[in-house]
C-alpha cells in the first residue's frame, strides 16, 4: 500500500539505525507518547536495534489504557440497562471494570455493539427510536473531532435517544505533568503523529521553550519512528530544543482547523483522572452545557463513582519510565492480557501488553 510499504523498508531502516549509532555519544532517555508507537517499537524490535545508550520510555498515550476504572464501571452500568444499545470502538470491550467487562456483559445478553465510526451510533439511534443508544466517546485529540461531529449531527437532526459517555484525554497536559514530576527521566519526546494531524504542533513550541526539551512529531511506521529518534537524538547531542516535524506528509504546524472547530463547538476542557497516573489538571474534554442533553452520565444518573486500583500494579511507574514491564513481579504471570491488573496491560497498545505479545521469550 502506498504510504505504508516504503516506511517499512528494511534498507531504509538500517540506514537510520546506523545514523543513530553514529550520532549518539551519551545516554539519553526519550519517551514515545503514543501507544501506537510503543506497539510498533516493540513489534519491530526497534528498542533492540538502536544504540544501548538510548532508553525508550513508553508514554501514557493509549486512551484505552488510561480510561479510569470508574468510567468503565459507568459504561457497564449503562450497558446493563434493558432499553440501552451500548456502542463502542472494539478496543474498549475487553477493558476490565471492577467486576466485569463490556464483552462479558454482551455474552450474557446486553446489547453491546462495536461500531467503526461514532456516526454509525447516531444511525443506530435513528433506526431504533424506542431504545436509548449510548456511544463510549474515548480518545485523544485524534478521535475528539469525529466524536464531536457525531454529537453535532445528532443535535442538528434532533436525535434525542442518542448520548455519549465521554472520557476524552489531551496530550500536552500529560507531557507537562510528566516534566513537572520530581521523578522525571524524560529528556526528549516523540510526539504522537495522529494527534498532531488534528492539532498541529504550535502548542508544543511553548513546551520546548519552557522546559528546554526537544519534541519531534513522529509517525507510526518503523522508518518514521527511527527517523524521529534520529532527529530527537541529534537535537540532544547538539544541545538544541525545538519542536520538529518528522511526519510532515500529514502534519502541519497549524493542524486541521475544521476538525478543531467542531471539537471546540461540542467539548470544553476539564480536569481528568488518568488510570495509573491520577488527576491531571485541564487534561480532558467534557460536553459543553449546550450539549448536556447528550451527556449519558446525566441521562442515566451515573455521576459519582470512585474505585481503588489494584495495589500490585506498577503501571504508574511504567508510564513515567521509572520501571519496565519486566520489573513487575506479577507481569506475565498473575497479570496478563486475559486478566489485566492495570492500565498498561489492558490494551494491545499498552507497554505491558506489547511486551507480553512480542518479548515473551525474554522472560
Amino acid at each position: 500500500m502506498k504510504y505504508l510499504d516504503e516506511y517499512r523498508d528494511s534498507d531504509k531502516a538500517k540506514l537510520l539505525v546506523d545514523a543513530i549509532h553514529k550520532k549518539v555519544t551519551k545516554k539519553w532517555s526519550i519517551m514515545e507518547i503514543c501507544g501506537g508507537q510503543t506497539h510498533s517499537i516493540v513489534k519491530y524490535g526497534i528498542d533492540d536495534l538502536i544504540s544501548q545508550n538510548i532508553n525508550l520510555i513508553h508514554g501514557p498515550g493509549c486512551p484505552v489504557c488510561v480510561t479510569p476504572i470508574e468510567k468503565i464501571d459507568k459504561a457497564i452500568e449503562i450497558a446493563s440497562k434493558a432499553n440501552v444499545i451500548f456502542c463502542s470502538f472494539g478496543d474498549m470491550l475487553r477493558v476490565p471494570g471492577s467486576n466485569t467487562d463490556l464483552l462479558k456483559l454482551k455474552a450474557v445478553g446486553s446489547d453491546v455493539r462495536i461500531v467503526y465510526s461514532p456516526v454509525d451510533a447516531v444511525q443506530i439511534a435513528k433506526q431504533n427510536p424506542d431504545k436509548e443508544v449510548v456511544f463510549f466517546a474515548v480518545g485523544f485529540e485524534t478521535t475528539a473531532p469525529p466524536n464531536a461531529q457525531a454529537v453535532f449531527i445528532a443535535h442538528q437532526q434532533g436525535v434525542m435517544n442518542f448520548s455519549v459517555l465521554v472520557s476524552h484525554v489531551l496530550v500536552p497536559p500529560a507531557i507537562k505533568a510528566i516534566l513537572d514530576s520530581k521523578n522525571n527521566l524524560v529528556q526528549g519526546f516523540l510526539a504522537a503523529g495522529h494527534v498532531c494531524t488534528v492539532m498541529g504542533y504550535k502548542e508544543y513550541e511553548e513546551i520546548v521553550s519552557k522546559y528546554k526539551i526537544p519534541i519531534v512529531v513522529t509517525g507510526f511506521e518503523p522508518v518514521d519512528i527511527l527517523q524521529g529518534i534520529l532527529m530527537c537524538v541529534s537535537q540532544l547531542e547538539e544541545g538544541r530544543h525545538e519542536a520538529e516535524n518528522q511526519y510532515s506528509r500529514v502534519v502541519t504546524r497549524e493542524g486541521n482547523a475544521k476538525a478543531m472547530e467542531v471539537m471546540y463547538e461540542v467539548f470544553e476542557i476539564c480536569e481528568r483522572k488518568w488510570r495509573g497516573i491520577g488527576e491531571i489538571k485541564e487534561s480532558g474534554f467534557r460536553l459543553k452545557e449546550k450539549y448536556s442533553d447528550y451527556d449519558a452520565e446525566l441521562k442515566f444518573g451515573v455521576v459519582n463513582y470512585s474505585v481503588e486500583e489494584s495495589g500490585e500494579c506498577i503501571s504508574g511507574l511504567i508510564l513515567q519510565g521509572i520501571k519496565k514491564p519486566v520489573d513487575c513481579p506479577v507481569f506475565g504471570t498473575k497479570c496478563n492480557p486475559e486478566h489485566p491488573f492495570g492500565a498498561t496491560m489492558v490494551s494491545t497498545e499498552g507497554a505491558c501488553s506489547a511486551y507480553y505479545l512480542y518479548k515473551e521469550k525474554k522472560l
Binding site: 502506498k2 505504508l4 456516526v119 485523544f140 473531532p145 469525529p146 466524536n147 449531527i153 494531524t197 506528509r249
Partner: protein, 77 residues
C-alpha cells in the same frame, strides 16, 4: 486507538457539510469515509482515515522529500 490508515479517494458524494463522504480504497478494500473536515479533498487524493473520518490529505511533496533525504543518506554511505 489513534490508528489511522492511508487510502485513495475514488468518489465523493453528499451535499450536507457534516455528512460529505467519499469512497476510499485502502489497498483495494473500499470503505465510506466522512470527509467533512477536508473541504478541499478531491478524487485521487490520498487521505489519512481514522474512525470513519478523513483527518488530512497526505502531502505527496512532503512524502517525497523524506524519501529523497533517506536516499541521500544511502548515497553518502
Amino acid at each position: 486507538m489513534c490508528l489511522a490508515v492511508p487510502g485513495k479517494i475514488l468518489e465523493i458524494s453528499g451535499d450536507d457539510p457534516q455528512l460529505r463522504s467519499a469512497k476510499v480504497s485502502f489497498g483495494g478494500a473500499i470503505k465510506t469515509v466522512n470527509i467533512s473536515f477536508l473541504s478541499e479533498a478531491k478524487v485521487g487524493d490520498y487521505v489519512l482515515a481514522h474512525v470513519g473520518f478523513a483527518l488530512n490529505i497526505i502531502d505527496e511533496e512532503e512524502a517525497n522529500k523524506t524519501m529523497e533525504y533517506l536516499k541521500l543518506m544511502g548515497d553518502v554511505e
